[in-house]
């Protein structure tokens, strides 16, 4: 993709050079040829020519429309991640980058990726607006607090590439830099498994899910006070105002931090906000956990395996969860 961007870039350089030299050349030629020879000399009265105006309106118009078409179609490809991607989660905070790989490894100011693989970053900020910028890949995207943005790239050469924060974010903005480390696949695999056994993101998310007592309401079956999360990810959800929404990253995040923004049809607005109670990393782990809750293998992972056995529905909840007992509303 970088090569495609550069092709357009150098086309524009050539265009700029051409018009700058052309017009400067004409200006210099006229200035010399028609320099004032007599002090009281006046220029020849010429007031304009409509065919010239039309020419130098239409030709630039055609050129800019061509550039627009070229750049917009390229941008369209850049903006859409391919179907198969290796996902990495990014949290920006003053003044560091945290990268989490779904299977557990987390790193700071370094991002390891395999060569030749489409990598998709899902990014959010814990405080102000940041921006992930990897000049060598010609990619850049703002990292916003309170929402997820995405960026994808495919590295074609192993090596170390600079990563910058490109959106001014305060005191140590110019220190919020790091490296993208592109490795051969085998090397990358070795690196990935060399972690300290912190567990995958989904496992950590499950731990949080229990600690925060989400599990008391979001059960594996439909008996919970909240909707079940099994098989939820990327499904269409019907809301109580009749609208529908796709259960994507943004929806899940919002449902945790601001549950009343979009109420699922058939459920009472009982859930308290977890804004400020869960870190951005924690939210991403919860999201990975929700993604891992596939509908088919009911005993594979997650909710059914533990939790409910040790708790009585409706009993006093653990300290971390401010949920009040409530009456389930049937669907």
């Amino acid at each position: 993709m970088a090569a495609h961007v550069d092709a357009l870039y150098f086309f524009l350089v050539a265009l700029t050079a051409f018009f700058t030299l052309l017009i400067s050349g004409v200006v210099v030629y006229f200035a010399v040829k028609y320099r004032r020879k007599e002090n009281d000399e006046a220029g020849t009265p010429i007031h304009g020519a409509i065919w010239l105006e039309a020419t130098w309106t239409i030709i630039p118009l055609v050129i800019v429309l061509f550039i627009f078409w070229w750049s917009a179609s390229l941008f369209f490809q850049m903006a859409r991640p391919p179907a198969q991607t290796l996902d990495v989660y990014v949290v920006g905070k003053q003044w560091m980058w945290k990268f989490q790989h779904p299977d557990g490894r987390a790193e700071v100011n370094e991002l390891h990726v395999p060569v030749g693989v489409n990598v998709k970053l899902t990014m959010t900020s814990q405080d102000v607006i940041h921006d992930v910028y990897v000049p060598a890949f010609r990619v850049k995207a703002d990292v916003l607090p309170g929402r997820y943005t995405h960026l994808w790239f495919k590295a074609t050469q192993p090596g170390r590439y600079r990563l910058f924060c490109a959106e001014y974010c305060g005191t140590n903005h110019s220190g919020m830099v790091g490296w993208v480390v592109v490795q051969e696949r085998a090397e990358y695999q070795a690196w990935l498994t060399g972690g300290t056994g912190q567990g995958t993101m989904a496992q950590n998310g499950e731990k949080l899910f229990n600690e925060l007592a989400c599990i008391t309401c979001h059960k594996t079956d439909t008996t919970g006070r909240g909707p079940t999360l099994i098989g939820l990810y990327s499904k269409t959800v019907t809301l109580d105002d009749g609208n529908t929404v796709t259960a994507d990253d943004a929806y899940i995040r919002e449902s945790i931090t601001n549950p009343r923004a979009k109420m699922v049809s058939g459920f009472a607005p009982l859930m308290p906000t977890f804004q400020g109670l869960v870190s951005e990393e924690g939210l991403l782990q919860l999201m990975e956990y929700v993604k891992s809750l596939k509908a088919v293998p009911s005993n594979a992972t997650g909710v059914a395996a533990e939790g409910p056995a040790t708790e009585t529905p409706g009993a006093a909840t653990p300290a971390a969860a401010p949920t009040k007992p409530a009456i389930p509303v049937k669907k």
Binding site: L12, R35, P135, Y168, G170
Partner: protein, 531 residues
């Protein structure tokens, strides 16, 4: 001052006390009050730029602390944009010339005109107070939630200063619009107006329509900062990107506030020093209005990487390309005006040639930034810094200086040293290019803007840039010296030293208090050199 050569009474002799200046309602004196104000702010803003360039000589952040550096570039931007570039041409040259060019005695609202200067001074005082108290570190763009919830600096005070200053723009714009509509001399139809007037009319529309938006936006930043109203901070339920939409809705047209008057000056210079009617007068006039109108619809091109939708980005990209067309039309018409002209190389014309080159590069590199896929790479890098300095400094300041040289004999009745003026114009042109051209390259190589410290591979380009800035500083210092010197020792200026058309050259130098001894009547087209 020896004024024996000017036997008639002029506006400079209409009272010598401080009070006669500070309570004047004469648009010419108000223009000079602004000249004093914007020059002071320009010197201050340049001082910050000098410190920035010295810091960037080395990759390590070793001259000042990060916090200090962040304040330097913020104060440089705030002062240069809001207190120098926006008022420079309209409030100094526009104030002085607009009524004379249309054959009027003064502005439509002389008291409001004076008020606008006081509003400017009060706004500036707030900003300077914030500076003395430690400055502000948000960048001139005040992006939220950094500005509204995180910055520890004097955001509120600066925001109030800019808010107040905005009313100065609004009042000036109002005055220009009413003056052009109601006070033109008999026979001075719209299509006989100098293009300087057309450009200022278009600028005035932006002043009046755009400035209230930045004012209310900054009020919202202040309200969120002080009262914790949730508008932009997501923690309070706000939307940080909303701020960018509101900010750029004004601040992109603000670029046209800077460049349209510069284009107006350019049209005057090209015609005067070619002794020829401007080629395609109506196209040049209407392209100003087209730029003002379409310029309100392109703000989203500052936000291609901000997470706005792909389709919004495409719409803004397309509109940005369309706004390039009227600028291109102007450039072609200026070039064609030279054809079969009687071209002289007086110092104002050197600035005009310089403007042509710099505006070409500034405008054409705008095509890179409107190109979505390329913008992703170069936005927020030094490429953008170079691009907007080519427009704002290469465009607006070149024409501010060109205009100042062109009308200096009229304003003060004195001739400056032409040889020094030529040397200065060339020095500024060379220094400017050496400062900012390397920044295109280092931006393409990936150096982000607003970086206190940077990777060592970018150093060579920064050294070139700092070297150029030194030359540029010398170039800017020169006019300060020889122009001031001309006030004391300069030869008296004739009424029309350039042999130019336009009503301002038909009155004496400097003009009498009411501009004309007898109210002019216009019975010829503009730029009527071939009599």
């Amino acid at each position: 001052m020896d004024t024996a050569a000017a036997p008639h009474s002029n506006y400079l002799h209409d009272g010598y006390t401080l009070k006669s200046w500070l309570l004047t309602r004469d648009h010419k004196r108000i223009g000079l009050l602004y000249l004093f104000g914007v020059t002071a702010f320009f010197v201050l803003g340049s001082f910050f730029a000098a410190l920035i360039r010295i810091e960037l000589l080395t990759p390590a952040g070793d001259l000042v602390e990060s916090d200090t550096y962040n304040r330097l570039f913020t104060m440089h931007g705030v002062i240069m944009v809001f207190f120098f570039l926006i008022p420079a041409i309209p409030a100094v040259l526009g104030n002085f010339l607009l009524p004379i060019m249309i054959g009027a005695k003064d502005m439509a609202f002389p008291r409001i005109n004076l008020l606008s200067w006081y509003v400017y001074v009060i706004g500036g005082t707030f900003t300077l107070t914030a500076l003395v108290m430690g400055g502000v570190d948000t960048g001139w763009t005040f992006y939220t939630p950094y500005s509204s919830a995180f910055s520890q600096s004097n955001v509120a005070l600066v925001v109030v200063g800019i808010f107040i200053n905005g009313f100065s723009s609004i009042l000036t714009g109002l005055n220009f619009i009413v003056t052009v509509h109601k006070m033109r001399a008999p026979g001075l139809t719209w299509f006989r107006l100098p293009l300087f007037v057309w450009a200022h009319y278009a600028t005035a529309l932006i002043f009046v329509l755009g400035t209230p938006v930045i004012a209310i936006t900054l009020v919202m930043v202040g309200a969120e900062r002080l009262l914790h109203l949730g508008i932009f901070d997501p923690k309070l339920g706000g939307d940080p990107v909303l701020f960018q939409h509101l900010f750029w809705f004004y601040s992109h047209p603000a670029v046209y506030i800077m460049i349209l008057p510069a284009m107006g000056v350019m049209s005057e210079l090209i015609a005067a020093f070619s002794r020829k009617a401007i080629f395609g007068y109506q196209f040049v006039a209407f392209s100003s209005l087209a730029i003002a109108a379409v310029g309100f619809l392109v703000w989203g091109h500052h936000m291609f990487v901000s997470g706005q939708s792909v389709f919004a980005a495409m719409a803004f990209s397309l509109l940005s390309y369309l706004v390039a067309i009227p600028s291109a039309i102007k450039v072609f018409n200026w070039t064609a005006t030279l054809y079969k002209g009687s071209i002289s190389f007086d110092s104002p014309m050197l600035y005009a040639f310089g403007f042509m080159g710099l505006f070409l590069i500034g405008g054409l590199t705008g095509l890179f930034l409107a190109a979505l896929a390329v913008d992703v790479h170069v936005t927020d890098t030094y490429f953008v810094v170079a691009h907007f300095h080519y427009i704002m400094v290469g465009g607006a300041i070149m024409m501010y200086l060109g205009g100042l040289h062109y009308w200096w004999p009229k304003i003060f009745g004195k001739m400056y040293n032409e040889a020094w003026a030529k040397v200065a114009a060339v020095t500024i042109f060379v220094g400017f290019n050496l400062t900012f051209f390397p920044q295109f390259i280092v931006g393409y190589l990936g150096m982000p803007r607003r970086y206190h410290a940077y990777p060592p591979e970018f150093q060579i380009w920064n050294i070139m840039s700092t070297a150029g800035a030194s030359l540029l500083a010398v170039g800017y210092a020169m006019p300060t010296v020889y122009l001031l010197y001309s006030l004391v020792k300069g030869n008296p200026a004739p009424d029309n030293p350039w042999g130019a058309t336009g009503l301002e050259w038909k009155t004496s130098s400097p003009p009498p208090t009411h501009n004309f001894e007898t109210p002019p009547v216009v019975n010829e087209p503009p730029y009527n050199y071939a009599k």
